[in-house]
Amino acid sequence: MSHAAQITGWGVASAIGVGRERFRSALFRGEIGIAPIRRFDTSAFTTHVGAMVVGYESDDRDPSVLCREFGLLALRDALEHARLDRNSLRSLRVAMTLGASLFGVQNTECLARGLLEELSIEGPSITVSTACTSSTQAIGFGADLIREGFADVVLAGGVDTLTPALFAGFHALGVLSEGPCAPFGRQMGTTLGEGAGFLVLERRGARDAVTRGLLRGYGLSGDAYHETSPEPRGRGVAAAIRSALDDAGASEDEIGYFNAHGTGTTANDTAEWCAIQSVFGSELASSLPLSSSKGHLGHAQSAAGVLEVITTLECMGAGLAPTTGGFDGPRPGGPPRPLGARKPQPLAYELALSSNSAFGGNNCALVFGGTNPPGPDAEESRRRVFVSTAAPLCAGVSRVEELASIYESKSAPLDRELMIDLAAELPRVDLRGIDRASELLTTVTWRALGDAGVQLRGKIRERTGLIVGALRASPDSLARFHASIVQRGLAKPDATAFAQLLPSAAQSACAKALNIRGPQSTITVGEGSGLMACAIAAWMLAGRSDSDRIVAAALDTRAEGAPGGARGDAACAVVLGTAPTSVEVVGIGVAGPHQLHEAIAQAQRRWGSPEPPEIVLAPASKPGSGPEERAHPFAGMPSTSSSFALAHAFGLLRRRMARSALIGVGGTTASVAIIVASTEVNYET
């Protein structure tokens, strides 16, 4: 990225210590945070160790309570490190990007909202829920918010906690090591952990701050391969690493240290080593200092990425490189000489790369380093972003034109169950085991790409991305998982349902079915998630060069028997791309919750038109919030309703029934506004 974001501070709550000072001294002493689990009974399992946050080893309160506490500890620690007090926070535009895939908990966006409220911060928060890549991606999106000018300061990081159900699921999949894990070592398997970490990212010049590091770039990719196994040759991991290097304007030989995902499982470590060799070449790879922090911290899941970056930053500042705790000799198919001592080793380096991979094939890599900027900021060449197609789906709506009649008459969509038959639309794809949420998402994505004439073959697969706005994990899979535990006990959960429990499961299943390998993610802001996904897709296309089109999708699913039942099911896919069409995205605005006016003002400024947009669509889908809102047609579809609005606007512009439109949502954790305009009458700034 042309404007590297500066890192002005960080904070942690981890298995080797809470707070930077304790963390650093434990890290430099080579402490291992893995111990027998005291929080819950592990006698029915074949392994009994985990990496709990110091002081919380026996604490068995609700996971969302623990996550909130971990999060606050890490946040306060980070703000203190960055010397940001209440006054400075009030005078800056502050946002949060939070990696959290709270297992089985609905409404993860509430966690982010709660953290900001506790600190009296009113800016937007975006929650990234892509399992083990959540906080890594959150850091990347946080840097984007700064580059795009939506924030001066971003608190970017992640939180997670180790629950019995999570432990049981991983155990059933056979990926836990018997003793403390030994990444790249002879013992196979990983050790689960937990924790929280935050980086303070800042726009250079926002205030007089000490730069402690620079975030130079990030890269995303998807394996499109399998629900739990990585693509064996590390194809996706390599793509993310290359993309991060490209974004950072760095070459492979500039990387002085590599912090690997290195979980210790058979599948991950060999695939990752293949990827490293593929990117760096076997000669450079064999001399590249690399290690995995999971031997010391355990696998902190949604917090893994940020904790591993912080580990590296702490070591880098002291002229050290992190090492691989528990390493007991190289394994066949793994790197022959990872840094394996117990304590960090002396090493001088300017630039580091950290990589993470997740179930479902999401990969994310970050390039970051010392305080010397790479050079004068290059002239940013931003690309224009256009809307190619839109595919809405809910009961009674399967085409953009059908949206129009609902908006005009302000009547509710048909009160009946939504029936789809994806197998008929995709005869050559194995859809066995695909759940309802994945089926909905794949249907709209397939239709939207099909309408856009995109055939996902060859290089197009790597150049096509997928950003999904969704609120929760699949309700059916959650129900099945819990039922299996009730019927068979915690030691025998339904492993297939477990794999589908991630909020990103639908995104991964869709990417796998359609072979989408480009940058991808699953995010939530609660209400308006679909529109936020569009905003992210648009800024990625404009400010990055790793994709040519991104499907911005929204997904709402209701459990059977829930109010609204299957009638609440809805999905929408909007294909945004850099190839010109008649409808262009001309302005985006992102602001704090209930600050829609601010988001709209931002979007209007970026558009640069003296006139306001012709059409304004600002749907609210909170039922019963007011007489006007009740009239809006898509109540009960918090993620999708704003995407429907965008699709509807696209339809109107495409048919020349209007020349510009504003779609906005003032949600509970963020407000988003997008202005689209016909390309014949676009105003340049």
């Binding site: 064996p232 060999t270 695939a271 198919g333 005869p427 050559r428």
Partner: protein
């Protein structure tokens, strides 16, 4: 070299063979996969770099070809047994929409197919090709400088098929033979591979007759789609509606049993022998028989062949019959040189009737 020695090479070491009986074809064009989909019986749920085993059936749903479909970006490799290139071409012409954009290339004239099979075949490939080969999943393939390496095989052991341009083939063959012999293996005939395939329950289109038999009787329904239209689909639906009456079942016997023999039960004839061959692992005959559905189950010892006054009993068994060595070998942690053969269970642990 005797068949028994060749068999041992495949089952315990590594064996090299030429696969001249396999047709090598490639379809290119935007609609290549769609064209293949139109003539093959199975759902083509297969991605780039992977292989799917399927069938081509005739209008009576009898298998005429055994096919591996291997999509490769905008093209598709086919490895075909049972029909010639001309016959496949005719089949495509008859069943595929003429507006589809595809072209069939016969790779046979310019390529040779060499295969290495055995519990240590991966070690041969790891030295000849790359150590990373142990990460190549079953039924996938990739391009290397001299050709394409497919990991497949019908013996139940590790198996790698190398499609090489003719000019590289003879050098490759002698290098591979050297590697194979260094592991106490050998070059083996098709007969040895077919014996292993029989023991492991792989369908062979080149053995036995499929007259009047559909995938339902042949236990190949897994290669047949229940959703799409394909040549033979009407006959399959009809046969399904009628209900299965006979099923192919594996058996072992001491001796005296050969292809075509009638199998009798306590009261009446109940089937006939399809294929039979002597197996060194079993120390007797292994084979397949088409049996009345009432006795088409493993573990039945009441059937026999009568020849004049002598009776030769058979015992039906589940397939695969053998506990393949390849299941017990971990390429990540052992080599041929460090193997612990004495700790391994025998290939077959049953009793002859």
């Amino acid at each position: 070299m005797s068949l028994e020695d060749e068999y041992r090479a495949v089952r315990h070491h590594a064996a090299l063979s030429r696969m001249d009986h396999v047709g090598l074809l490639r379809l290119v064009g935007d609609d290549a996969i769609e064209a293949v989909d139109a003539v093959c019986s199975g759902d083509l749920w297969v991605r780039d770099g992977r292989m799917l085993q399927t069938l081509i059936l005739d209008d009576r749903a009898q298998p005429v070809a055994d096919v591996y479909v291997c999509p490769d970006n905008d093209a598709c490799f086919l490895m075909v047994e049972g029909i010639t290139t001309e016959e496949l071409s005719e089949c495509l012409a008859r069943h595929v929409d003429p507006d589809l954009d595809f072209e069939l290339e016969d790779l046979g004239p310019e390529h040779e197919l060499l295969s290495v099979h055995g519990p240590y075949a991966w070690e041969v490939m790891s030295r000849w090709l790359t150590p990373d080969i142990i990460g190549l999943p079953y039924l996938s393939f990739y391009h290397f400088d001299l050709g394409v390496c497919f990991r497949a095989g019908k013996t139940g052991e590790f198996g790698y098929d190398l499609m090489l341009r003719n000019e590289h083939a003879s050098k490759a063959r002698s290098e591979l033979l050297e590697l194979v012999t260094s592991l106490d293996g050998a070059e083996v005939s098709l007969e040895a591979l077919d014996l292993c395939a029989l023991e492991n329950g792989f369908f062979s289109i080149r053995h036995g007759s499929v007259d009047g038999l559909t995938p339902i009787e042949l236990q190949l329904q897994w290669r047949v789609s229940t959703r799409k239209r394909f040549p033979g689909v009407a006959a399959i639906e009809e046969r399904r509606a009628r209900g299965i009456r006979r099923r192919l079942t594996h058996f072992v016997a001491a001796d005296g049993v050969k292809s075509g023999d009638v199998l009798r039960g306590p009261d009446s004839p109940l089937g006939e022998v399809m294929t039979a061959a002597f197996s060194p692992a079993v120390g007797g005959v292994v084979g397949t028989a088409l049996l009345d559905i009432s006795v088409a189950h493993p573990g039945i010892a009441e059937l026999f062949v009568r020849d004049r006054d002598a009776t030769f009993p058979i015992r039906t068994v589940s397939s695969p019959l053998v506990l393949n060595r390849s299941l017990l070998v971990d390429p990540r942690s052992e080599t041929y040189a460090t193997r612990e053969d004495s700790l391994r269970p025998p290939l077959w642990q049953g009793a002859l009737p």
